[in-house]
Each structure stands twice: as structure tokens, then as C-alpha cells.
Symmetry: C2
Subunit: 151 residues, 2 copies
């Protein structure tokens, strides 16, 4: 069974970060960056949905890699010279340009979430926010595939 | 600055699970279910992108809650009688009906990923797959908000 009907989403807000234009300055993982504070501005019509988010120290941001142009099924990573499958890496050049980052919540105020851990370009459209729950989201024994061998 | 242009995605595959029609039988978290094996069938044109995924024990599946009908910004959870903000819960009834589950990889064969941890209905459109990397995705000290108080 094949279902390829297009699925249409609309941004619920915009992510503001210090990374204005030079993509090379964006940390590959927000977690390990410095000076990576940002804020997500939720459009007023969705702001009520932020209730209770400030009780979480970490949130998933799911967003659109809006500056990503096309994709390749096999790609080189910055780290090495092996071609990797796109579903085994986190490159923005994906069949569906969906990004996902776990951010640290500093403050939720009105329709804004102030956070650390930005690794997306300024102006990135935000699609969804989900709570990070360690009991559900931690897998201490997870094997990290090709990364392990090369670090 | 407000950018609300629609964003269009196309499924890269279909997720097959034991949960055919009765939504009440679907575990709220795949991790804690039993008999929750499934497989994702990637459309042939994307199958090459699965290279290297089998080295990971866990993958993120990002999918479309295609049977979700509308949303509320405040919702009751199954667990209690407090209204929670939609961005602080994982309900399918979201402004953008995007689901995210971490699955355990059992086998990758051809264009299929066999996995445990299904918590989505059979026939769910798959939008993206990303590797789960414990060094990036684990936050042992994360605070889990309203959940903590009620468990």
C-alpha cells in the first residue's frame, strides 16, 4: 500500500538564534555549543498551548530546515569521508527537511521560550514542541552505529 | 516577522503495526508496551538512504498522526483531570499532527526496518528517520515537569 499524498503543515512560530547568515558558524549539535542562546516566538494564536512547558527543563523543537535545498540519499558527513545513508545522519539535506533539536529551557514568558542549545539558523520556522521526558527518552545502552567507530 | 507559508512534506514510507483499528489498544508509549513489533516499509526511491541505519540500536521515527482530527491548545491527558498545554504533552491532537517515537531496531532488510516499540496505528505515514545517539540525546538530569508531580 502506497500513500504519498502531500502533508501540509504550518509553522506555529519562529526560532530566533544568534546564527544570522553564516551557516558554517552554526554548531552541528546545539548541546556542545557556546553562546547559543535563542528564543522561540510562538504565534499568538498558539500561545495558550505553552502552558506547563516551563516545568520541563528540556523540550524537543521540531522545525523546518527552510534553507535546505534538495537532498541526497547518501552523503558525506563533516567528520569523515564515508558516504552515509541520509537516515543514519542528521544532515538538513533530507527527503523531508525536518529538523529536531533538544533545547534547554531557560524561561517561558508570554509567547516566548528562551532556551540554550540553538543549532538552527535565525528565522527557522518552528513546527512543533514536545516535552523531553527522561523516563521515555533515555536509552543508556543505545548503540550509536557508525559514529562509534570513527570517534 | 511572521512566516506562515504552508510547508509540504511527502511520506517516505509506511509504518506497519499490530494496531489495526482500535485506537484504545495502542500503547501510549511504545517503550512500555508488549507485542508491539512492527516494520517500516520505505518507498523504493528512498531505500538507499537506509544505509548504516542498522548500526544503530534505536532510531527516531517522525511520522504523521494521519487519523488525528483537529487539535486543542489545552487538553486533558489520560492520566488526570488537569488541562495541560498541548506543547507540554504528546497528544496526537496538535496544531501540526507530527508524531515522534524512539524505536528499537531489530533488523534492517532491503527497504524494511523491523522494530519494537510501536505506538502508532497501522498504516501511519513515515516522514523521517534519524539516528538516536545517546551522547546527544540523553539528559539524565532533565526535569519532567507536570508528570513528576502526578506519578
Amino acid at each position: 500500500m502506497k500513500k504519498t499524498e502531500p502533508i501540509v503543515f504550518k509553522p506555529v512560530g519562529i526560532i530566533h538564534t544568534p546564527f544570522k547568515d553564516d551557516k558554517k558558524k552554526i554548531p552541528r549539535q546545539g548541546r556542545f555549543g557556546e553562546g547559543n542562546e535563542g528564543y522561540a516566538e510562538i504565534f499568538p494564536e498558539y500561545a495558550e498551548g505553552l502552558k506547563d512547558t516551563e516545568g520541563f527543563s528540556h523540550l524537543y523543537f521540531i522545525f523546518h530546515f527552510h534553507q535546505s535545498d534538495g537532498y541526497s540519499l547518501l552523503q558525506y558527513t563533516p567528520r569523515n569521508h564515508n558516504l552515509r545513508g541520509v537516515f543514519a545522519i542528521r544532515s538538513p539535506r533530507r527527503p523531508n527537511a525536518i529538523g529536531q533539536t533538544i533545547v534547554k529551557v531557560n524561561k517561558v514568558e508570554g509567547n516566548k521560550i528562551y532556551f540554550s542549545g540553538a543549532d538552527m539558523i535565525d528565522g527557522t520556522p518552528l513546527l512543533d514542541i514536545k516535552p523531553y521526558v527522561p523516563e521515555i527518552d533515555m536509552y543508556p545502552d543505545a548503540l550509536n552505529g557508525w559514529l562509534k567507530k570513527e570517534e
